[in-house]
């Protein structure tokens, strides 16, 4: 059964369970090594973390897995969902060792017609709040769901 336009539109505002994410020093070390990133300091508590950790924290603590997110939109990994865009704003640089509260929701959902057929473009956004209660960063992403059956 196809995922209806009404179902798609009703998804806007749906909140993620959210959670907490700690940028563990070992995780910062491994990530920066894997991303060929320059090292800053010795990965001790308080050293600035790579800005991609905004995305890692958001996805890592959104409270559901990818399969469940795809299922919210009547899809699975086999349908070939694709990354659309990632937009990050950093208000206070993330720090190695710090703990962040992650909250997020579906913020947009549109059905579109492209050269390769119908697809749904879904926007989902997160805020990262630090231990002092400040919004440290925001992360807004989009995902593309091909709709071959629409």
């Amino acid at each position: 059964m196809s995922f209806s336009l009404e179902q798609l539109q009703a998804s806007v505002g749906r909140a993620f369970p959210g959670g907490e994410y700690v940028i563990e020093p070992w995780r910062a070390w491994l990530a920066q090594d894997a991303m060929l990133a320059p090292t800053q300091g010795d990965f001790a508590q308080g050293v600035e973390a790579h800005p991609v950790f905004v995305y890692f924290a958001a996805i890592g603590a959104m409270g559901i897995g990818w399969d469940e997110l795809f299922a919210w939109f009547g899809a699975s990994a086999a349908d070939g969902p694709m990354f659309g865009e990632c937009a990050v704003h950093v208000e206070h640089p993330l720090a190695v060792g710090a703990r962040y509260r992650v909250d997020g929701a579906i913020v947009s959902a549109e059905r579109k017609q492209g050269r390769s057929g119908c697809f749904d473009l879904v926007g989902y956004a997160f805020t990262l709040t630090d231990g002092a209660g400040r919004i440290a960063a925001t992360c807004r992403n989009s995902i593309v769901f091909p709709r071959r059956d629409v």
Partner: protein, 142 residues
């Protein structure tokens, strides 16, 4: 050398994307998609015979370029990147960018930049924009 509109950002180049580092990224991100670590799965999907790099790694190469230029991770304040194409194991890559505007905000001098990541064969991977804090020391060093 002053930083001005049109100033190119020193590029960040990857000589050959490592399949082994993709495995590390899969583990770090709890990413179970086998296209990042299992060549057989990539073949079965008709996507070639090399594993496919994670999107966040591709983003990171662009941010590496910005952080090296600006002097620290904390100076990279915004980035918005659109995923255009895939990167495969052993691909050579080049992240590049240009200053498009300069402004002052919150006591900082900010450079808005157009950024991109391309494969050595010319295929586009990422296109987007970013904002970094710039200062006089950067200009003195340029």
């Amino acid at each position: 050398m002053p930083i001005e509109v049109g100033t190119p950002i020193p590029p960040f180049e990857v000589a050959a994307v490592s399949a082994e580092k993709m495995k590390t990224m899969s583990a770090l991100m709890h990413d179970s998609n086998p296209i990042h670590f299992d060549v057989q799965s990539v073949r079965a999907l008709g996507m070639g015979d090399r594993t496919i790099n994670q999107g966040p790694s591709n983003m990171a190469y662009v941010i590496n370029m910005l952080a090296i230029w600006a002097g620290s991770y904390g100076r990279v304040r915004d980035f918005r990147l659109r995923f255009i194409g895939n990167v495969f194991a052993d691909d050579a890559l080049r992240a590049s960018g240009t200053v498009t505007a300069l402004r002052r905000e919150g006591g900082h001098r900010l450079a808005d930049c157009e950024v991109r990541l391309d494969r050595a064969d010319g295929a586009k991977v990422l296109l987007g924009s970013a904002t970094v804090i710039v200062d006089d020391a950067m200009e003195a060093a340029a």
